[in-house]
């Protein structure tokens, strides 16, 4: 090899070694690759569950298709009933939820809504059913859940075939079209020590929540349960367009309580005066998509707000409460918040400007010990 060749090879070796060392080091650096964050965009239509299976509910129970636990299903439903078959064990509570997704602009009335129940093959409705949710002024995604609750000496405890009935109620002048509905069957294991009904706490710290006043952080909400934006204690900022519903989710562990307030700031008005009844609606849903509480106020383009009562501490025993809002906080998990700006707000605000939304959240209380679940 010539001298020049040897010199070049020497430099090459040094360069390659330096590169290889850099490569080896790069592999060890945790921050070597950083995720690019996409700018927020206006939320599109309801985002269905990933991999949801198409299903066609039966008009009668005899034609009901089987729904398996842990899997999401997509169906459509017009005004009326649909039946689904459930094969339940005798060792778990189950929650069957339906989320109705009306198209934007659909006509809905106050009597319209969704009802879900679990019934035996003998036609008896299981205790604590049906789960219900109703529309206000706007066609928003609506969730309701039915339950088969494990409880000694109660009905609906045996293993076997049950039916879930989903009913869409609609007035004569409401939209009659078939709307998408998402179905989900979730299991909760029974307790290892038996499922005797326990006394639900009769008293809990239910005073109006003290909500934070810190600097808001921008967190755009999702279109539904599947892409709801996670939030915790703090102040969160988003923008809402008339007719839009944004979903958020909050982790609540055993013993925790949620305090929640939502405010709309002044809008850019096109008229000196406006009023939208139910212009701001806030709904709180359980991890199994059952409606816990909702509240609405009118919005006239000026500052308005809603504060939900602080939830009871999350506790297993809550399921035995006589109060629906307490029964709703019976499991630890992701709780969902849906905030809607009424479509009527568009009649007196600028098209090009969304309305600023502020969410104030306080997760307090606990932690408490988790129940002793049996084998899942």
């Amino acid at each position: 090899m010539s001298k020049i060749g040897v010199g070049v090879m020497g430099r090459l070796r040094t360069t390659v070694l330096a590169g290889a060392a850099a490569l080896a080091l790069a592999g060890t650096l945790p921050g070597a690759a950083s995720a690019a964050t996409a700018p927020p965009r206006p939320a599109p239509a309801y985002r269905g569950a990933e991999g949801a299976e198409r299903i066609r509910g039966g008009p009668v129970s005899a034609d009901a298709p089987l729904v398996a636990a842990g899997r999401a299903y997509a169906d459509t439903i017009g005004p009326g009933e649909r039946f689904y078959r459930l094969n339940l064990d005798d060792a778990s509570s189950v929650y069957f939820s339906a989320v109705l997704q009306p198209p934007r602009g659909a006509e809905v009335g106050y009597g319209d809504g969704l009802e879900v129940e679990i019934m035996t093959k003998e036609g008896e409705r299981c205790p604590n059913n049906p789960g219900r949710a109703g529309f206000g002024y706007d066609p928003v995604p609506l969730g309701a859940a039915a339950v088969r609750r494990l409880e000694e000496d109660a009905a609906c405890q045996g293993a076997g075939v049950y039916f879930a009935k989903v009913t869409r109620t609609a007035a004569k002048d409401s939209d009659r079209g078939a709307w998408p509905v998402e179905l989900l069957l979730q299991r909760e294991p029974g307790l290892a020590v038996g499922n005797a009904p326990a006394t639900a706490p009769g008293v809990w710290p239910s005073a109006s929540p003290t909500l934070p006043g810190s600097e808001p952080v921008v967190r755009p909400g999702g279109t539904g349960f599947n892409d709801a934006r996670a939030l915790g204690s703090g102040v969160w900022r988003d923008d809402l367009w008339p007719g839009q519903t944004r979903f958020y989710r909050v982790p609540l562990d055993w013993g925790r309580q949620l305090g929640l307030g939502a405010e709309l700031a002044d809008a850019r008005m096109t008229k000196p005066y406006g009023s939208a009844p139910g212009g701001l609606t806030v709904a709180l849903y359980s991890p199994y998509r059952g409606l816990i509480e909702d509240k609405a106020v009118a919005y006239g383009g000026k500052q308005a707000g809603v504060t939900l009562p602080k939830t009871a501490p999350v506790a297993y025993e809550n399921r035995f409460s006589d109060t629906g809002q307490v029964r709703g906080v019976r499991v630890a998990g992701w709780y969902y918040v849906a905030v809607t700006l009424g479509a009527k707000v568009a009649e007196f605000t600028e098209d090009a400007s969304p309305v600023p939304l502020t969410l104030r959240m306080a997760v307090t209380g606990g932690p408490a010990r988790a129940p002793a679940y049996g084998r899942a």
Binding site: L17, A35, N226, V250, P251
Partner: protein, 65 residues
């Protein structure tokens, strides 16, 4: 609620984003591990090659004019 849930709440992630982040972390761990391993092997091989090259260069020795 697990540590992943608390992290998702802290970072304001949706469920799909949280799943992606968890998957991304797994992939990055694998890539980092594989990269480190491959880098070390490459360093050893190239180090040997470098030393052999130096020895070969030395064996030729200074030449008399």
């Amino acid at each position: 609620m697990g540590a992943d849930d608390r992290a998702a709440a802290r970072d304001g992630l949706t469920a799909p984003e949280a799943a992606e982040a968890a998957g991304g972390r797994s992939v990055m761990r694998v890539v980092a591990g594989a990269g480190f391993g491959a880098g070390m092997v490459l360093l050893l091989v190239l180090g040997g090659w470098f030393l052999l090259g130096r020895r070969g260069q030395g064996a030729q020795g200074p030449r008399r004019a």
